[in-house]
């Protein structure tokens, strides 16, 4: 069926002679969306931690940038075998000496660079023991990490990829305190300013299923462990 | 205060004592009761089976019969629900009838709702020894929003041990013609519903609707489950007499 035929059928059902007849409708909900949630940083962090931990996310709060790399290697030492560690190639992960620290712990670090060959990168992520990302935001109300395939509002940003936080069994995310906002609406409003990244994920804890006799199981297709470091 | 009784077809044919109980209880509280003889059925069976024109005719008969009534009270949450929820919808294309339907719907009450909300009585002075569970019928709780009123009346009955219904949301499977058209499903629902009562070991099942009582009672009788069924009004009137008041 063509677009024209499809839209004409719909219009006819709505009592219009042609799809263009009604023009652009005005959409104004009868009540504006309310502003909700706290704005104080500590309250936001506390709520995020509470919700994230309910979903089996492991949260670590650190005070200084110097603690990032040791924290990441400590998590890797506990959670992952030695092997490939993939990461976003993003400014949010720069300046912590991450690659050096992770390499000296015996892993091979592979950043997802802009322009890299897709099949190869996906295959690498699939073999990786862990993936390290930053976040675009963290949602306190639901304990969610917002992970965009490119920096929001900047589609030409360096590489990030969709699979770093998806294919490896362990996902480590670095969240800066000031990135924690209260609700998804704030993220949607920011996204609405456009242009949207090709993919935005709200990830809330490790992958889960209850498909076998209603029994909760963790790590079905996505990460089995999610570690969040709050700086 | 004057109340017109709408007996409902089920109570008229199968449970006339329920109507008698309602009349006695209303009179005890100073209400004048009349019984317009032109009444038949609210039309719910026709409406629910898709015979919408027949249902409208029956509704018109109700509107005419009770046009001048101050209040209309009936011993069925389901029929009251039909009048209040569906009558206005049925006539939404006819301004005059729509207004009439809304007006009559506003004056229509289920028995326990009328006692508590309009008369403001909770303790009818009844005494009845039993371990009872109350089943709130679906249309009464969802279309009328009557949930606590019958429980209030029961809580004030002396010697009555009221056990909590574990799944008050769950339908008993009656559903009017549904019970005859889809008897296997309907019976499975009755069994499930009765099964939720079993661990509580009640000896009495109380409801505000003849349909549910007929259904669960009929199934309990067939399966040999020891469970007496009783309409709330009947229990209260017997209870008042027991108490020698």
């Amino acid at each position: 069926m063509t677009e024209q035929e499809f839209l004409e059928r719909v219009s006819a059902r709505l009592g219009r002679r042609s799809p263009a007849e009604a023009g652009r409708p005005e959409w104004k909900p009868s009540a504006p969306m309310p502003d909700v949630g706290p704005t104080e940083r500590d309250a936001l962090v506390d709520r995020f931690v509470l919700e994230a931990e309910k979903l089996s996310t492991r949260v670590y709060r650190i005070a200084t940038a110097a603690e990032v790399a040791p924290m990441v290697t400590a998590i890797l030492a506990e959670a992952a075998a030695t092997g490939t560690v993939v990461r976003w190639d993003d400014p949010s992960l720069d300046g912590f000496g991450l690659d050096e620290a992770v390499s000296s712990a015996g892993h091979q670090v592979v950043p997802f660079r802009h322009g890299a060959e897709s099949r190869q990168m996906t295959a690498l992520a699939e073999r990786a023991v862990a993936g390290i990302t930053g976040v675009d935001a963290a949602i306190a109300e639901t304990g969610s990490l917002v992970l965009a395939s490119s920096r929001i509002g900047d589609p030409q940003a360096p590489g990030r990829g969709r699979t770093v936080s998806l294919l490896p069994p362990v996902h480590i995310a670095l969240v800066r305190k000031e990135q924690i906002i209260y609700s998804a609406l704030t993220v949607f409003r920011r996204l609405a300013e456009g242009p949207l990244p090709s993919q935005v994920i709200f990830a809330s804890g490790p992958s889960r299923s209850a498909d076998i006799e209603n029994d909760l199981s963790i790590g079905v297709h996505g990460p089995k462990q999610v570690h969040v470091i709050i700086l | 205060m004057r109340v017109s009784l709408f007996i409902t077809c089920l109570a008229d044919h199968f449970y006339p004592e329920v109507g008698e109980a309602v009349v006695h209880l209303l009179r005890r509280h100073g209400v004048q009761v009349d019984f317009p003889s032109g009444q038949t059925c609210c039309g719910q069976p026709a409406w629910n089976t898709g015979h919408q024109e027949d249902a409208r005719d029956l509704a018109r008969n109700y509107l005419t019969t009770f046009a001048s009534s101050e209040y209309i009270v009936m011993p069925s949450g389901s029929c009251a629900g039909h009048v209040r929820y569906f009558y206005p919808q049925m006539f939404n294309e006819d301004k005059v009838l729509y207004r009439e339907a809304c007006a009559v719907a506003d004056r229509t009450y289920e028995f326990s709702e009328f006692m508590v909300k309009v008369l403001g009585v909770r303790d009818l002075g009844a005494r009845y020894k039993a371990r009872a569970v109350f089943h709130n019928n679906c249309h009464m709780q969802r279309e009328l929003g009557v949930i606590d009123e019958p429980l209030e009346l029961l809580r004030h009955v002396r010697d009555l041990e009221l056990v909590e219904n574990p799944r008050p949301d769950l339908c008993c499977g009656f559903g009017g013609a549904f019970s005859v058209k889809m008897p296997e499903i309907s019976t499975a629902m009755a069994d499930e519903k009765l099964g939720t009562f079993s661990p509580l070991q009640p000896d009495l099942l109380v409801s505000c609707d003849g349909g549910c009582l007929m259904h669960m009672g009929g199934r309990a009788e067939r399966t040999g489950m020891k469970l007496k069924t009783m309409h709330l009004a009947e229990l209260l009137w017997e209870g008042v007499q027991n108490n020698g008041r």
Partner: protein, 487 residues
Amino acid sequence: MAADPNSMPDFTARVEKALGDDQLRGALRYTADQLRTKRLAAMADLDSQAADDLALGTLDDLRARAREIKAHTLHNLNYYLKLAADQIRANGGTVHWAGNAGDVVRVVEEIARRRGAKSVIKAKSMATEEVHLNAALERQGLEVVESDLGEYIIQLAHETPAHIVIPAIHKTRRQIADLFEGVSGEALPTDTPTLTAFARKVLRKKFMGADLGVSGANFVVAQTGTLCLNTNEGNGRLTTSVPPVQIAVVGMEKLIPSLDDLAVMLSLLPRSATGQKITTYFNMITGPRRPGEPDGPEELHVIFLDNGRTNLLGTEFEEALYCIRCGACMNVCPVYRNIGGHAYGSTIPGPIGSVISPVLNGFESWTDLPQASSLCGACHQVCPVGIHLHDHLVNLRGRMVERGQEPLSMRIALSVWMAAWKRPWAYRLLSRLGYWLLRPFAKRTPDGKEYADNLPSIASGWTMSRNFPTVRKRTFHDRWADLEKGV
């Protein structure tokens, strides 16, 4: 899956099979109760959060907003479809228009041919179930693998889902282990971690080798051309991230105007479906991989599907297109919890399935389904978009009576009965007649109560499993004279 009413046993036979399967019914009730309890807790939490200004609104607030969004979108659906299509194209995607099931199959087959595709990985999608995509693609020699754990189990068993949120609910871990052994050729222990790990390993290989990823969408934001998917397992993310081509089959009612509206719908869907505040993954896809991005699909195709949906548009049943497929109506339905999805047979079972299936199919099929309800209204009470499901079931029964789709015996009985009851004198005459007609069947319990247990004709439907009270010799009408005197 085979939701073709002509190729399955009739409804009564399907119901009988379900009612005879205690394991299925036990599992259904257990699952439905769990989901119901979780939903209740989530909504109570939502209301209390809203009271403290910590949520966008109470359930009632959000339901009202959602209804407004849906009504507005549907009344301007042609505009929003065009807007969404333009945006998807601007984002680098391709838009296809499917008037019916065959159109979807043709579009996907064409893409598969052009890409030389051999294998397809699927995320859970009711729209693809509706158009029987899997079977069609398999006939073309493609390997199609369902990646949702429950759907995968069902696919291995060659069955259809018993529940829309938890498809393999009727399967025990032993049965699941047996199905997996059929794949691996070796014995597996039956604990959940082992079974899950096995499925992860097998399906991960399928993901990595798949040529096409096929998904549905929970919402499509017209303003930005964004596809939204809610999943817990992560298979939705894999399907839309790993294969070189992504195809989304989207019912045209999934559109919402803006990202603000998405906040409302997202607050309602997971809470209603599983009692979660949000699903583990919420996925927003705005186009295929952009130049320079290190991964993601090269092509994104969106297929907008009508397939009978216009039959509801602009009619009294339009509201049924508000449905966001949360399944809450099924989890509270006393009929569904006793017969399950297989007995309904339609792609979407339960109260909403009983409403939309006959209308989507032009009243030609699934006409039994609207009868399979006691009209208790529990469905309407929980519906996050407030669809008046039991009203629609009644209206459908009305349409079916108008179309003469009613058993003759029932039509005759009801016509006579209702004709008499419109006249007060005939009503009272029928009462008398009823008393005498029941006399030959009357029996007495030891305590003197009269009943019948073997009535003929239509009434045998009742007495086959329940006792029926007899009509009283003196009805209330007869007794009123005495009562009046007693004043």
